[in-house]
Structure formats: C-alpha cells, structure tokens
C-alpha cells in the first residue's frame, strides 16, 4: 500500500504537457483541470485548441461549458461545495476571457438576450455570476445589472435592452419576495407577456417560482442555461 501511495503521489506531482495530448485527451484533461479550478491550465488548453484550428464556439462548448456542467451536477449531488465551484468558475472565466473577443469576431447571432440581476436588498452575486457565465457559454447575450437591483432598474434595463428573458436571483428569504414585486409591476404595466421570466437562488423552490409568476424556477446555473434555451426555442416555435 505504501508503495502504491508513493507512486500515486509521484504521478500527481508530475507536470502534464498539454501540448503533447491529442485533442480528445486534451479536452478530457481540460475537464479535469476546470473541475480542479486550474485557471492557467485552462487558458493554456484553450489557446492550444485554438492553435489547432478549433473554432472558439467549439472550444467553449466542448471544453469549458461541458466541464462546468459536470461541476454543476457534482455540486447538486453534494460532491462539490461552494469553494470548489467558485474555483472552477474562476478557471472557466479565465478561458472565457481568451474566447470572448474571438466569439465577438465571428459575429455569430446570439441565441437570445437576457437581463439578470440580484434583487433589491440582496448583495449576493455568486450564483448570479455563475448563471451569467453559463448563459454566455450557451450563446446568450447577457446584460448583468449586478446586485441590489430595484424594480425601476429592472424595468429600465428591459426598455433599454429589449431582452427575451428577465432573470432574477436572491439568496435571502427576506429578499426573494421582491421577485413578485417585479413580476407584478410587469403585469400592471402590460409588459409581462413581452418577456420570459426565470428565477433562482438557494432558498427558492419550484413552488415559489410558480407563486411569483415566473415562467421557470432554475435550481442551478446549468439548469438556468438549459431552461433559458428551451424557453426561447419554445416561444419561437409557438410564434412560427
């Protein structure tokens, strides 16, 4: 056992030459590296794939988004906790910063536009920022209003940016009812049907999402990206 442990330890310390890996192995290694929150390795892998002729969107989806999806599943299942998720998100962010200008250059039409923000009275943005990143990874144009966002700021952003979706986040049971204030104001002003509304945050659940009149409750960032995509497709299909 002692020998095996020594060998394992030596293996773990060994530097992996990412450039020596073929594409499939490099993608697998990047999934591991993002899971472990290794930002510099993710940047290196991203640049290697781009150098091998991969499109930025392919790198984004197959290397970064897929790895973050796995992180999301393991977070949901209690295998990973917030610190590990944050480190993974930081690694993804490092890769995104390499890809973002290239994605803009391609001029690819975003799948949709979303305005997101943490509601009034709440300054927690870890979850919201993860959602923003996953939505960006899923091809959305994301307008992030930040924290402590009141109804006037939400409505102003909707008028200015004309998004497909409004996304609201809250971490506190004391602030999450504010989501209903925003939805009710949309209804009062005859704007509710102009936008899809998704909500999320640790203390929320499906029942609460329905009670505030949202189109969907999203239990985590990966689900938010999937749900936003599905809602847009369904609305466009219905309009066609």
């Amino acid at each position: 056992m002692a020998d095996a442990a020594t060998v394992d330890s030596a293996d773990a310390d060994e530097e992996i030459d990412l450039s020596a890996l073929d594409d499939d192995d490099l993608i697998a290694q990047m999934h591991d590296d993002l899971y472990d929150g290794l930002g510099p390795e993710i940047v290196e892998g991203t640049e290697l794939l781009l150098g091998r002729g991969w499109g930025a969107d392919k790198v984004l989806n197959e290397a970064l988004v897929e790895a973050m999806r796995i992180v999301g599943i393991d977070f949901r299942d209690g295998i990973l906790f917030v610190p590990e998720v944050l480190l993974a998100a930081n690694a993804m962010k490092a890769g995104m910063e390499v890809l973002r200008p290239l994605l803009a250059e391609t001029g690819a039409e975003p799948i949709g536009k979303i305005v997101i923000g943490t509601v009034k009275g709440d300054i927690h943005d870890i979850g919201k920022n993860l959602v923003g990143m996953m939505l960006e990874g899923a091809g959305f144009e994301v307008v992030d209003l930040g924290i402590n966002t009141d109804v006037d700021e939400f409505l102003g952003a909707l008028a200015e940016h004309r998004p497909d979706i409004l996304g609201m986040s809250a971490l506190l049971t004391t602030t999450m009812p504010y989501m209903k204030v925003v939805v009710d104001t949309l209804i009062e002003q005859g704007l509710r049907d102009d936008y899809l509304v998704i909500v999320g945050g640790a203390p929320l659940n499906q029942e609460f999402g329905e009670a505030v009149g949202a189109d969907a409750y999203c239990r985590d960032a990966a689900v938010a990206a999937e749900t936003a995509t599905d809602l847009i497709k369904a609305r466009r299909a219905a309009a066609a």
């Binding site: 917030v82 300054i123 640790a202």
Partner: protein, 244 residues
Amino acid sequence: MLVLGCGALANELRAIVGSGGLEHIDVECLPAKLHNRPALIAPEVRARLNRLAQQGRTYERVLLGYGDCGSAGAIDDLCAEFERAHAAGDGPSMTRVPGAHCYEFFATAPLFAEMSEAEPATFYLTDYLARHFDLLVWQGLGIADHPELAELYFGNYRRVVLLTQTPDGAQRARIEACARAGADRLGLPLEIVETGYGELETTLTSVAAPRRNTATPDVTAPRRSTVPSELAASRRSDEHQVPA
C-alpha cells in the same frame, strides 16, 4: 419535550433550558457544519428522531432549533409532515423557531429587518460564528487555501455585525476580540449588537409553556430577551476599517 437544534446553538439552548423551570426538556444538537449544507438538515433531523425513537426516547413535542436556514422550505415541509401525523395520533408535534436563520431570530424579526434595510451589505456573526470564524468561514469557505476567494465571497459586503448573545464581561470581551479579528481579516468595519437569545428563548419558553405550567406551577419566569428598542440602544459602532 425535545429541542433538536443546530450545534451552533448548543450553548444557548442549554443556557435557556437551564435557566429555570425547563429542566424537563431534552436538548439534542446536530453538527453545526450543516450550516454550510442546508439541504442535509431536514434529512438529518428525521434520522436523529428515528435513532432516538429506536432508543425508546419518544416525545410529545419537538422544537427544532433552526430557522429556515437555507433549506428552501424543507424544514417547514418536515414540520408540516410531523404535524399531520401528530394530528392523526402518530408521533410528536413539531415546529421550528420563526425566522429565516439564527441571525434573524437572535436579533428578532423587526430589528433584523431594520438592520438589513439600513445596510443590506452586512455579514452577520453570532457568538458561535465569531468564536469559530477561522474554522467555519476562513477554512470552511476555502479562503485559507485560496485567498483569491475572499473577494468573491465578501467583495460586496460593507460591514460585519456581531449579534452577541453574551452580556458585558470577560467572556463577551473574548467573543468581541474574535469578531474583530474576523472583521479585520475581511477588511470590514465591525459593529456589535447585544441581542440576548431573542426569539430562540421566547419560542422555546412558549412551546414549553403548557406542560411546564402543569408540572411546575411555581416556575421562575423565563429570563427576558432584550427588546428591539433596547437592542438599538445597545448597538455600538466599532470602526475597524482595515486597508483592503
């Protein structure tokens, strides 16, 4: 009657129960680390009650020493399930302390709302969290190993408020020193608010009241919690802004 609470409240629960007239109440605690894994609280409560029942320890009433605690309603759902079963003659009645979390029920809802309104960007500490700041916050949130996470967690905060359960004295001074060290690490100013046991105490004594009155008619009146106006008066600022 059983009080089954968060380990972070163990000292406070024992102090309340030991303060006179409540000695018939059993106190059990679940690990405080569930604070960081709220989805596990309700299942762990159920498991502990099952284990106690297997040991022959059954109760007519159970008070959970928890708020919602980020369980997204799961603790309330569990209470409702027990209440339904109890109404049908099966098992104990069960309720919890009102409020979203211990910060709120220590401060009492009106004062907590006032503080949150005044400064939403407040990171709250209780005596327990102050004493164990390094273990629960610095190490528990991974900052000790990854200092870059501190900004992600606390970048939006503007102050730390210690909601202390301890009256002035040597013990209070030690707790304040822990809180101050924690606030310094976060680079935030510290304010101190003496709350006493707040709604934890009033709820516990209220839930316990019928049996206590029957069994021990001459019990000593429970120690009063500090009322919100007194809390506001006892609040003091302890500016400890540290260079970022």
